[in-house]
């Protein structure tokens, strides 16, 4: 095993000799490619509306001129960079680029509003690096057994897992649990908009042809979070030089790092484990981590108001999941998400067919890629810690000049989705919805989770029933599925019982309040 790691390291730190005016110049090409990928990926991933998938697909052509190893190394750098860029946008301007950033938005942006944007960004970077290291180790040691485990997951197990995920989203709620349930259900309903995959029937499109492919995640996310946030800020503004985040120390303090350590470890484990599961795994990691951190925290009332564990845990889970989601692709040749499918496409273009034989036939490629993941994570940490100072500076621009800029970039980004003005209008509509939701005491975050999981749930539900010839009992007959269902309801019940006994303290109105009276 260590030979393989050494092989991977040697591939990454390979030096090519370039001829410059007759002098042979040693250039560690692959390291530089990784660096370039991380940097570009981060800068583009920050742009609101451009999630990791869009970023990778935009930058994919850049890699066509490179050899296989170089292309994949650069792509993975872009991938991680884009993920971190998405987290940056989530923290700074409350725009989740992807479903995995939704959780970061909750406490991360609160921290930014309290002037601790740098700490949030810093802990996200550190947490991600630790998680990435963990993820790489998991891949090296446990690829084979983990992919076996992933194989035992049938549609019924997925349904139960998704159900667990949906119930987890309830725990995210700061407000009343039934209101969170409403939001999740609404999200699932929104996921039904568009052409049904199995039958081709058009649902809930109301005659709008553009909706036939369904609502785009970015449209929903930008509207409900980004634009609605701007509207909310304008609503409460009294005047004067408002700045989105007060300048504070740009980096997390040692105290904060100590506090987050546990969350990072737990998040890495959770995210790493769930990330192996194709489809929903990557999305569930951060949510699961948030739920766990909130449950075991001494004063859970901090969550939603800038608890650093609410950023550290989910970010670690996010990154660990991003790493381990390579496992099904590398060992089975099965791309678990759209993003992975892009990478598979890149490999195929280069003439490499991903699958179990890659490990034996192209060991330098396989191990070079794995080590490059770790190198990429290290690179991200090195690049981003100084960048944090830049971001915080960027935030000191007066809000009156900042928010129109956010709107412009968002609008252009939205327009590029389907090359249509409709995306902009639809996002504006969702923004109004998001604004009203906040005013009426609902939270938008569970909608996004319900939205993403709704489609997956339907697919797997149908498939499970087809496999069992219409037998509903299949969900409880299969042991793993039953176990997941039991865990979800047990967790929900525990959450309900304990919350009715807990008194929660609000930091803004300084009131003692009960979650609900039974």
């Amino acid at each position: 095993m260590w030979d393989n790691l050494l092989l991977g390291l040697s591939v990454n730190f390979q030096i090519s000799w370039f001829d410059l005016f007759g002098f042979a110049i040693p250039v560690p090409t692959y390291i530089l490619l990784c660096l370039a990928g991380c940097l570009i990926g981060t800068l583009i991933g920050v742009l609101p509306g451009l999630g990791p998938v869009a970023t990778v697909s935009i930058l994919l052509p850049l890699t066509f001129g490179l050899d296989v190893v170089g292309a994949l190394i650069m792509l993975s750098g872009i991938y991680y960079g884009a993920q971190y860029g998405g987290s940056t946008a989530a923290i700074l301007v409350r725009i989740p680029g992807e479903v995995t950033s939704v959780v970061t938005v909750i406490d991360g942006h609160e921290m930014a509003r309290q002037g601790r944007a740098g700490a949030a960004l810093g802990i996200a970077a550190i947490g991600s690096f630790v998680a990435g290291t963990f993820g790489t180790l998991v891949i090296v040691l446990f690829s084979a057994p983990l992919s076996q485990m992933a194989l035992t997951f049938g549609p019924a197990e997925y349904c139960s897992l998704i159900l667990m995920g949906l119930l987890l989203a309830v725990v995210l709620a700061q407000g009343s649990i039934p209101k969170a349930v409403v939001m999740i259900v609404l999200g699932v309903l929104l996921s039904c908009v568009g052409r049904d995959q199995e039958t081709g029937a058009e649902r809930l499109t109301f005659g709008f042809q553009i909706l036939a492919d369904g609502i785009d995640f970015s449209v929903l996310a930008l509207g409900l979070f980004g634009i609605a946030e701007v509207m909310r800020n304008l609503d409460g503004a009294e005047g004067g030089d408002k700045v989105i985040a007060r300048p504070g120390s740009p980096y997390p303090t040692w105290q904060e790092i100590k506090e987050s350590a546990g969350a990072i470890v737990r998040g890495s484990a959770l995210g790493g484990l769930l990330g192996v599961l194709p489809g929903s795994g990557g999305a569930l990691g951060p949510f699961a981590s948030y739920a766990v951190e909130k449950r075991i925290a001494k004063d859970p009332g901090r969550f939603g108001h800038g608890a650093i564990q609410g950023v550290a845990g989910p970010e670690a889970a996010n990154n660990a999941g991003a790493q381990t989601s390579f496992i099904p692709m590398l060992t089975l040749g099965v791309p678990p998400t759209a993003l992975m499918a892009l990478l598979v496409g890149a490999m195929t273009v280069q003439g490499v067919v991903p699958g179990p034989q890659v490990m034996t036939r192209n060991p330098e490629l396989f191990w070079g890629l794995i080590v490059s993941m770790w190198v990429g994570n290290a690179m991200l940490l090195i690049i981003n810690l100084p960048l944090i100072g830049l971001w915080v500076k960027f935030l000191s621009v007066p809000y009156r000049l900042l928010f129109p800029g956010v709107l412009v970039v968002s609008a252009v980004g939205l327009f590029s989705i389907g090359n249509s003005e409709f995306s902009v209008i639809l996002a504006a509509l969702f923004a109004v919805v998001g604004y009203l939701l906040a005013k009426f005491g609902f939270e938008p975050a569970p909608i996004l989770l319900g939205f993403v999981l709704g489609g997956l749930f339907e697919d797997n539900f149908r498939r499970a029933l087809v496999l069992s010839s219409g037998d509903l009992l299949t969900f409880v007959e299969r042991p793993l599925s039953l176990a997941l269902i039991v865990i979800s309801f047990a967790a929900l019940l525990l959450g309900l019982i304990s919350s009715s006994r807990r008194k929660v303290i609000f930091s803004d109105d300084q009131q003692k309040d009960e979650m609900w009276r039974m």
Binding site: P178, L189, R203, P404, V408, F415, E421, V424, K439, G441
Partner: protein
């Protein structure tokens, strides 16, 4: 004793203060009513879709189940909140929000006919006017600069299929 209405009120992000008047309308009432409405519309819209059978689940299944669920929760929310003391409704300062929405609509309308530069600039200017501490001249300049930078980035960086500037009758750049 289960106090239904308060179950839903929870501790949402923006709580209006409770007052001790008689049972009546609060924001949960309106919220619940809206949910019933949305659920109802969804049910009507998916009326024709086949529900399917258990071994062949149809396209109407999930939309209708979620719509019914939504409407049901909405019903309980409305009823429950009507039985609890009336709470002052949240105030909506809709003028600012309307400017943001209007600016976005303007962008959508202008993007193709006039190109990215004018659309971005107009979006910046209109939405910028919503700021309470707006300085018109500063806004004008900032908008112009930002529009140029943004348009250039998306046009040249991402190859967005939208002209920078389109002057009707003359041409598209």
């Amino acid at each position: 004793m289960l106090q239904f209405g308060s179950v839903f009120r929870g501790r949402g992000p923006m709580r209006a203060s409770d007052d001790t008047s008689a049972a009546g309308v609060s924001r949960e009432t309106i919220a619940g009513a809206s949910l019933i409405l949305i659920g109802g519309i969804a049910i009507l819209a998916t009326w024709r879709l086949p529900f399917g059978t258990l071994d062949e689940v149809g396209p109407g299944f999930l939309p209708r189940v979620t719509a019914v669920l939504l409407a049901a929760i909405g019903f309980f929310l409305t009823v429950g909140s009507l039985r609890t003391p009336a709470v002052s409704l949240p105030t909506l300062h809709w003028s600012k929000g309307a400017m943001v929405v209007g600016a976005l609509v303007a962008f959508a309308v202008l993007a193709r006919p006039l190109g990215m530069l004018p659309a971005c600039a107009v979006l910046y200017w209109i939405s910028g006017m919503a700021a309470p501490d707006v300085r018109p001249r500063e806004l004008l300049v900032a908008g112009a600069i930002f529009a140029i930078a943004c348009a250039a980035l998306f046009k040249f960086g991402f190859g967005l299929q939208l002209p920078l500037l389109a002057i009707p009758g003359i041409g598209r750049f």
